[in-house]
């Protein structure tokens, strides 16, 4: 009798142990997002939650004043108009971008990236746009050049003010993609040994050379951005690639798994914060 009870207890203890171990390993995006938000709110108590989407302008008064002035005549205006026209122009086969997207592509930017359960991968807005082009017999656009920037600028504009709304379904593949993006964000890379977090979690509001760093919270919401440094509009892909090369890391291919997952993770972290794109940055 006693022997059986002991082995029963042992089995129970083992079962509990295994369950605890797996609970620690299962990603909890909602908990992560709450901790992420709390970190920045605590670090910058004077900043309103929705203002984090304005990057350095939420942390620097002088820059904010200049930015607000310029927003009356924003530098992204030309790209935005070009994007609106491109979006409305039919493909050679007569179809338009509206045919590829829910709600005709209007006011949907805040749902990207999403996890495609059929494909088992994260799909970003830029990727979806190029897939739309290819499905309709058109050549894909470069992920780092003006056309993609103009298109995504227009789509972001139609979603201005809407809260970021990324979903991580309870699918192990989606959770793995989310976790992959999280890993990428916190991993040091490049000869300068910086992770995304080194700048955007540890040092927002501080300077790196002549630039004031943006907080990671809300950092996806303003994209695509007109950067004065680029004298033009740049896509999310362009920003990820240049961040890599700036830390002396060889950039990955645009829309590679890591970049897509990173965008997924970072966007999810900013759920609830308004879309402010297209944005303007120094």
């Amino acid at each position: 009798m006693r022997v059986r009870l002991q082995s029963g207890l042992a089995a129970l203890a083992l079962a509990i142990f295994i369950q605890t171990a797996s609970a620690a390993d299962t990603p909890d995006p909602a908990a992560d997002a709450k901790a992420f938000r709390d970190y920045f709110v605590k670090k910058f108590p004077k900043v309103k939650l929705e203002d984090f989407v304005n990057g350095p302008y939420s942390l620097n008064e002088d820059m904010r004043r200049q930015w607000e002035e310029k927003e009356q005549f924003p530098p992204y205006e030309f790209a935005l108009e070009a994007g609106k026209e491109m979006f409305a122009t039919p493909f050679r086969n007569g179809k338009t971008y509206a045919d590829c997207f829910p709600n005709g592509g209007i006011g949907i930017r805040q749902n990207y990236p999403y996890f495609d359960e059929k494909e088992g991968k994260v799909v970003t807005l830029e990727l979806a746009l190029n897939r739309c082009r290819e499905a309709n017999g058109e050549a894909p656009y470069s992920y780092v050049k003006d056309e993609m920037a103009s298109l995504t600028a227009y789509m972001a504009f139609t979603s201005r003010g809407k809260p970021m709304d990324i979903k991580v379904p309870n699918d192990p593949r989606a959770l793995a993609a989310y976790e992959n993006g999280k890993r990428y964000f916190y991993t040091r890379r490049g000869q300068l040994n910086f992770s995304c977090a080194s700048c955007h979690v540890q040092s927002p509001g501080e300077r790196i050379r002549a630039e004031t760093l943006a907080p990671a919270l809300g950092i996806m919401n303003a994209l695509p951005i007109y950067r004065s440094e680029w004298s033009g509009m740049g896509t999310t892909s362009r920003r990820l690639v240049t961040c890599n090369s700036q830390t002396r890391a060889v950039p990955l291919d645009t829309q590679s798994d890591e970049y897509r997952d990173l965008e997924y993770f970072l966007s999810y972290m900013s759920n609830g914060l308004p879309i402010s794109g297209p944005g303007a940055r120094p």
């Binding site: 992420f36 970190y39 979690v201 890591e258």
Partner: protein, 106 residues
Amino acid sequence: MRILSNGWNMTLAAVLLIAGTMPARAASEADFKAAYAAAEAAEKEASALHNQWTTTEATLAAAKKSASAGNFDAALAAAKEAEALAKASIFQATSEKERWKNAVIR
């Protein structure tokens, strides 16, 4: 027969001293090729880890450029530096594999 003067002895000593501290011969193409192959192999490993550094690539290119100009001393030095950079990037990738978790906001 004249005995070597002090002056000559000093010069001879100096020449022998210098000869002892320099490499016995200048770097050969073979030396360079071996070092470059080692550097390339390490960079390939870094590539598999998705963790190459731009400086490694630039140094490899500089090594190749020196070699094609026939300057094997410079080419060898650059190849060795490239290998060191590539290995450092591999070390970074392998240590960051676990270390990133410490940085996560909780």
